[in-house]
Amino acid sequence: MERRTVFGGWLLPMLLVLPQLLLTGFFFYWPAGEAVWSSLTTQDAFGQGVVFVGLDNFADLLADPLYRQSALLTVGFCLAVAGLAMGLALALAVFADREIRGKSTYRTLLIWPYAIAPAMSAVLFLFILDPRVGLLGRWLNQHGIDWDYHLNGGQALTMVVLASAWKQVSYNFIFFLAGLQSIPRAVTEAARMDGAKGWHRFRTITFPLLAPTTFFLLVVNVVYAAFDTFGTINALTHGGPGKDTETLVLKVFRDGVVNQDIGSSSAQSVILMLGVIAITAVQFRFMGKKVTE
């Protein structure tokens, strides 16, 4: 879409876009370019300089069982977080959309957790699930269930999934509720007249009409689970025990910042970039189609 009426001159507009362009240049394109370059090099044996090695870093990564394991873990983690956060949010939104007393109070009380930082959700979950100080964690241990996410990988994974999903529910709730409210009452009323019962009506009428919202949220949630949960996981488990909760972003951080393996870490960054580009492309293809229809 373009405007018909515009102002003349070109010096002023160029000055106006300049700050944004400089910042993107310095902090987006330059680092991205450097990531691509470093991913094709490696430190020489004496640590004195860098050698061009082509795609070796990528070949090493893809052949590395630890990397594949982390990739698989990340996929599972993303699906679990997205599924849980979206499922709960949808259920809450469906009921918050009904005509009941105290509707707006419920909404407010379900929206505020949007403000919680991912790292903060880790701190809050510690007080629930820590085996010693956590409310539920202690209770489990007192009742004969060995609960210690510091030692048990499966429990650690459960905990980071719960903490990550918990924080994302209100974001999804806001969008599902907006989606539900945009469905014309006449449509659901007509279905009601035809005798469609609650669950049936939801499955055949409401849920299909929510498809664009659901798809949009799926993309957002997967990106959130893949990247923004760094704070949650790092604060709770540091990727451990062992590597049981080490998602790809934690691995980039550990290999690059902690272990200083720049070549491999950069190659991992480039793979993640390709991932984000693919997700964004899919999203715009779909959204673009929605717009032209």
Partner: protein
């Protein structure tokens, strides 16, 4: 169907949701008023002891377990969140205004090069960004905490959408009155975008306040610890954790972003759902 009967199922489910969100925060609130040793033994009560608020002044002025005082970390977080929110809004308004209201060489290229950065979140360029920051001497500076985060494709796209919808008649009228482009921006464009700016402010304030990976990466100086960084450091202490102090800090860290979301809820919800789709 009896319309007068309260919808018990809806109330039950919504109350359960409210409870699940509120429980951890309530627990932290209650714990912050109790004795650290009791918490460490797992004897935390869910009823806050309002006569014992001593943890708050203590962490605010002294910090705990070797951290900076909490007032200082709150100040760093507040500064960072405000600079990011206002900085992003300012440069995004300027660039969107230029792209929408002017025709200049490389306009399309400028727009697309901003747009493409949607695909480059901080997390995927951790290491190289650090080396660029080092080149500029921005490691361990307050500037380094916020300037690199204010470039924004999403905010630019949002303002572009808003500006495109401004009626042509308004532009023509302004030109008839002899208003130049900067005057038009200040007197018309910014006021009519008020609601969008407010919504974006909430989203970006929360985004800035909640940063974790970025400050972890570019600031190792404890004097630049944000409240989120400080809090995670506190729970990482292996022995002798002062739990009551940690919980009081958690409450203080939660208050500002939650307050911003609640106070500006109306604009925020509308802006979020309009902007993203």
């Amino acid at each position: 169907m009896n319309r007068d009967r309260p919808d018990y199922l809806a109330h039950a489910i919504l109350a359960l949701g409210v409870f699940l969100f509120a429980l951890p925060v309530w627990l932290v609130l209650a714990g912050s008023t109790q004795d650290s040793d009791a918490i460490a033994r797992g004897e935390v009560s869910l009823i806050p002891d309002l006569s014992n608020l001593s943890s708050y002044p203590r962490v605010l002025t002294e910090g705990t377990m070797g951290t900076e005082p909490v007032w200082h970390m709150l100040l760093v977080s507040l500064g960072m969140a405000l600079c990011i929110a206002l900085g992003k809004i300012a440069i995004s308004i300027l660039s969107a205004y230029a792209v929408v209201f002017f025709r200049f060489p490389f306009r399309k290229i400028a727009f697309w090069s901003i747009f493409v950065t949607l695909m480059l979140p901080v997390e995927v360029r951790i290491i190289p960004t650090y080396s660029v920051m080092a080149t500029f001497g921005l490691i361990n500076t307050f500037t380094g905490l916020w300037v690199p985060l204010i470039a924004s494709a999403t905010a630019t796209l949002l303002f572009r959408q808003v500006f495109v919808a401004i009626p042509d008649e308004l532009v023509e009228a302004a030109r008839m009155d002899g208003a130049g482009p900067l005057r038009f921006l200040k007197d018309i464009v910014i006021p009519v975008s008020g609601a969008n700016i407010a919504a974006l402010f909430v989203i970006l304030f929360v985004y800035g306040w909640n940063q974790y990976l970025w400050p972890l990466l570019v600031a190792t100086d404890p004097g630049l610890d944000t409240i989120v960084i400080g809090l995670v450091k506190m729970i990482g202490v292996e022995t002798q954790t002062d739990w009551s102090a940690v919980m009081a800090t958690a409450v203080l860290a939660l208050l500002p972003p939650v307050a911003v979301v609640l106070l500006m809820q109306r604009w925020f919800v509308a802006g979020l759902t309009e902007g993203e789709k």
